[in-house]
Symmetry: C2
Subunit: 306 residues, 2 copies
């Protein structure tokens, strides 16, 4: 039986690229694998796939009876709804350990690094499998995306080393320039419905029994949101109510200024204010230096709901 390699719901570039890179590796070591994705491909990811000549992996949301090698998450909230009917044979991830459990032994490659593809690189090295040029390219782009071209506090020396080695294999001389090109694509918002923007890189969390949703948009210049910010705020309220969330946040991250404006819709905004020791103004606040949802938002917001 083939193993599906698949990342989280609302897939980002790391989820799609790690499904492809891990899938290739498993096939190479004699374990038949099929890369998959749980949702649509973002413009950034499409740019990466086009740049290195890949088709998007198969869209698949039901995994009952299948073997699944999870990439880039370990939380049930980001898993297919029928996860309990699938067999999880492995997890490769770089987040906190989530609430997925299994009934049989599996392999977990979980590391506190900036990107899942950095760990997939470790797996290639462990299995002594050569990384093809185009696979190296998408892995490198995923790491540049997740680490915001090394600016994110989640970035580690292991990620930087991986990018340099992958760039060499992929034949990309100026990976910084390619990264900026990628973030320019990511920054394009014109004509995109606000709901699509909120959900582009959105993750639902269960914080001590409280439902919280956090989206993030990383752009080169925050000014592009000037015309749509009111609409974004109104739709964030709607999304919160529709999904029965206590709190819905949207991080508008300026990767050049290195900080985020956070839009907050909440049943009780004082929880957010206390968590970050800030005062919201019209449901918004600028958090200087904040680039990472994982490292600079969740560890502060989660304990606030305990």
């Amino acid at each position: 039986m083939a193993i599906y390699t698949c990342g989280h719901t609302t897939p980002d570039s790391d989820s799609i690229c790690s499904a492809l890179s891990l899938g290739y590796l498993l096939n190479k070591i004699g374990r038949e694998a099929i890369p998959a994705r749980q949702g649509p491909v973002s413009p950034e990811t499409q740019f990466i796939l086009d740049r290195f000549g890949f088709e998007a992996p198969e869209l698949k949301t039901e995994f009952a009876g299948c073997e699944l090698f999870i990439t880039d998450y370990s939380d049930r909230g980001q898993a297919p709804a029928d996860l309990d009917k699938a067999t999880v044979v492995g997890i490769v991830d770089h987040h906190k350990l989530g609430d997925i459990t299994t009934s049989t032994p599996l392999e977990c490659w979980i590391r506190p690094v900036g990107c899942t593809n950095t760990i997939v690189k470790e797996m290639y090295d462990f299995h002594k499998v050569e990384i093809p040029k185009n696979i190296a390219g998408i892995m490198m782009c995923a790491i540049l995306s997740d680490t915001v071209i090394f600016k994110s506090p989640t970035c580690t020396p292991v990620d930087i080393k991986a990018v340099k080695e992958l760039a060499e294999i992929a034949g990309v001389e100026d990976f910084g320039a390619l990264g900026m090109e990628m973030f320019k694509v990511k920054s394009a918002v014109e004509g995109v419905p606000v709901r699509d923007l909120i959900l582009r890189d959105y993750k639902p969390f269960d914080m001590h029994g409280t439902k919280v949703g956090i989206g993030q948009l990383e752009v080169i210049d925050l000014a592009i949101f000037d015309d749509v910010k009111d609409e974004l705020e109104a739709d964030l309220d709607k999304l919160r109510v529709e999904n029965g969330l206590h709190t819905a946040c949207l991080l508008l991250t300026d990767i050049m200024k290195e900080g985020s404006e956070v839009l907050v819709s909440s049943e009780d905004p004082s929880i957010f204010e206390k968590a970050f020791n800030v005062k919201l103004e019209n449901g918004k606040v600028w958090l200087d230096g904040c680039l990472s949802r994982k490292k600079q938002i969740i560890p502060f917001l989660e304990p606030a709901f305990a």
Copy 2:
């Protein structure tokens, strides 16, 4: 802050030896570590420690405010009671993925192999750290113990390769003979209180909300239990009631005949009978070929409680 390396409650040889071997590795790569254990040292483990010149690691049951690198489990039921007040920085394990979660990224080295020390060996290789002779000795013994000298169905080629390499480093020519010597020590039951026997290698489980406890005694000849079996059965009943368990099992494993007699105390023994398609006689049954709690008991018993 030093990282405590520590295995599960009611530690077996793998838990103690992996705390020591992982602790040494972490110190070598510049992360200060202190091996610890959550409970008493079994006769088998004492034999291993004596054979290679080790003191037992520090006894420690409270970890609030500490950093903890967990070895040999990922279930809360086997963790210190104050786990939520500790920071789990890593997990190295070879069981199914349990219900421990974290609020920060960590490193998990989880593999479907026969022993945690086999994975610690992988970690030494990854970090290119030389394994000292005596550390190699205790790692090798832990693998021989967990894999029942390669007879257990949990044993993989990776475990066998690790033992051979570790035996070479430890300067042990006949590791099979050493394994048998170890199991002879393990088989000694004379003068040991029955409760101590039941708890010697005992693990509590939460099976879909139902509390189940399973102990295992691996011996060279089952006949040694002839005189104490009635007492064991009576005490297993007592233990079940005292701990509010639905079912308590004790596997009496004959490693030479390669099978286990299972003593079953249960609120509803028919669940066990259905799970294994057997009929209990006076609360007991011989399961031919059954050597592994992890691979031949839990995967059948757990779904029976779903």
